[in-house]
């Protein structure tokens, strides 16, 4: 590996790690002020616990080839035993940053009502039982879904669809926030949401273009696509809400960016720039529309993880079946989509792959949620929810902007 490629993966890893606090701010600004710290901590905690789980067992399970080859790895490399090749270490932590952000994405769906202790246990368990196998099927040695020919450049299925479905399973057990949907719960700090969205976009360049594994033509195209899909997602969402409600909003711009980026994620190195605009624009409109699903079906996905990450991920995975274009990448080794002479084969594989992951993720996540609920309990008490999770779970107040405090040591 050339030093330039090493540098690109180093930088990309740092960028992807930076996305998780970005997500924390993006989500944190959206909740009410009494829950912002809990939201931040749910995300930041993933940066703490997941790397530990990853180097102790996770990495080994997505790497080793054993009896269940194609399905799951082995414990051969547990604790990074024998992992001494620098390039292997490099990719071990690049992948680790994805393992960090995936459970963090889930936090937005369960915001404002989940027990901190339950979350603390949920994250490592979910990473091992759901993220790791799905990751293996798609990126592991001979992962069976990838072997069949489906495409997921940077984690549309592994990360976004996976996280979105996990939200559905968790909130099926957790229930709605008190007052929802009657009460409006608007963001308490929109500049914070915008800072978060900006950091997410910035980091996403590492996420998508780093997934090329080198600073090559594929990385360059993925970079361009990451730019264009975010742009088109934003403009499409702003346009959709202007048409519907008459106003273009800050929250809409931030959400549209993320929707576009989610949609291009699985396709970033498989499609050209104009296709990236199409991915972004379609996701911007459809994810905006998908927000209303939660009211229709009565599930309380607090910060719309389903509408943005699940729906956006599905859009991206699906559109690959149409837009994948190996020619644009010098005849690269992947199936062409419908629009580029590839027949429906790729589309079928895309759908299969996404359906399999959704079913697996829902079932296992639901079981985890039920188990946690039966043991430590998944949800805070009514009183704790009313006082806010910052106080009840962490004994802290986010903002102390005035001088008159009146505090006594105890």
């Amino acid at each position: 590996m050339e030093s330039g490629d090493v540098t690109w993966i180093l930088v990309s890893s740092a960028l992807v790690l930076f996305m998780t606090p970005g997500l924390a701010l993006f989500y944190g600004g959206m909740v009410r002020s009494k829950n912002v710290l809990n939201m931040l901590l749910m995300n930041v905690y993933c940066m703490g616990i997941v790397p530990i789980v990853w180097v102790l067992v996770g990495y080994s399970l997505v790497t080793g080839e054993g009896p269940a080859a194609g399905i799951i790895g082995t414990l051969e490399y547990a604790g990074m035993a024998g992992v001494v090749d620098p390039e292997e270490i490099l990719f071990a932590f690049f992948a680790m940053t994805f393992a960090v952000i995936t459970p963090a994405l889930i936090s937005g769906g369960v915001a404002d009502r989940m027990k901190w202790s339950a979350w603390a246990v949920f994250v490592p368990v979910w990473v091992l039982l759901v993220f790791v196998p799905v990751f293996y099927w798609i990126y592991g040695p001979n992962g069976w879904l990838e072997e069949r020919g489906s495409l997921d450049f940077a984690g549309g299925t592994v990360i976004h669809i996976n996280a979105g479905v996990a939200v559905l399973a968790l909130i099926a057990v957790l229930g709605k926030r008190r007052g929802w949907p009657k009460d409006i719960m608007p963001p308490h700090n929109l500049p914070l949401v915008m800072i978060g969205a900006a950091i997410l976009w910035f980091g996403w360049f590492g996420f998508n273009a780093g997934s090329a594994g080198a600073a090559d033509a594929s990385a360059i195209q993925a970079f361009m696509n990451t730019f264009l899909a975010g742009s088109a997602g934003m403009i499409a969402w702003l346009a959709a809400e202007t048409v519907k409600g008459g106003k273009a909003t800050t929250l809409g711009a931030a959400s549209g960016i993320v929707a576009g980026l989610v949609a291009i994620t699985p396709a970033a190195g498989h499609v050209g720039g104009l296709a990236a605009l199409a991915f972004g624009a379609i996701a911007g409109v459809l994810c905006f529309a998908a927000i209303s699903l939660k009211y229709r079906f009565g599930y309380d996905d607090s910060l719309d993880v389903v509408a943005v990450h699940l729906v956006g991920g599905l859009i991206g995975g699906f559109l690959i079946g149409f837009f994948a274009d190996p020619e644009a990448f010098g005849g690269a080794d992947f199936k062409a989509g419908l629009f580029f002479g590839g027949g429906a084969e790729l589309l079928v594989e895309q759908v299969l792959s996404m359906v399999v992951v959704m079913a697996f993720c829902f079932v296992v996540t639901y079981i985890i949620a039920k188990a946690l609920d039966a043991t430590i309990g998944l949800r805070v008490s009514e009183e704790d929810e009313t006082r806010g999770l910052d106080l009840s779970q962490h004994a802290e107040t986010a903002y102390n902007l005035t001088e008159s405090g009146s505090m006594d040591r105890v």
């Binding site: 009313t386 106080l391 004994a395 107040t397 405090g405 009146s406 505090m407 006594d408 040591r409 105890v410």
Partner: protein, 113 residues
Amino acid sequence: MLKLVTAVIKPHKVDDVKEALKAAGVGGLTITEVRGVGRQGGHTEVYRGAEYKVDLLPKVKVEVVVDLADAERVADAIVAAARTDTIGDGKVWITDVERMIRIRTGELGTDAL
């Protein structure tokens, strides 16, 4: 003669009180974010591993100027709406208002409400 009904209530009861006042025919009110000390006793926070008590709990003050005749009824409506039967529900008190002017029109007294 008019009366000022002042209530100190729990923040999440503002909407209920507002509805109750509307139902009681009160057209206007003014609210203030306040903090209160009382029997409720504060909550505990943690800073750098040390616990400390925050005495001043968030409350909302509702002020309504009403006609003399309505004062008690309005006060009762607030009490009914703000009640959660848990400590810290707050207080309502009534004071005299001598003169009331609507700034926009200069109308006085009950007309100014």
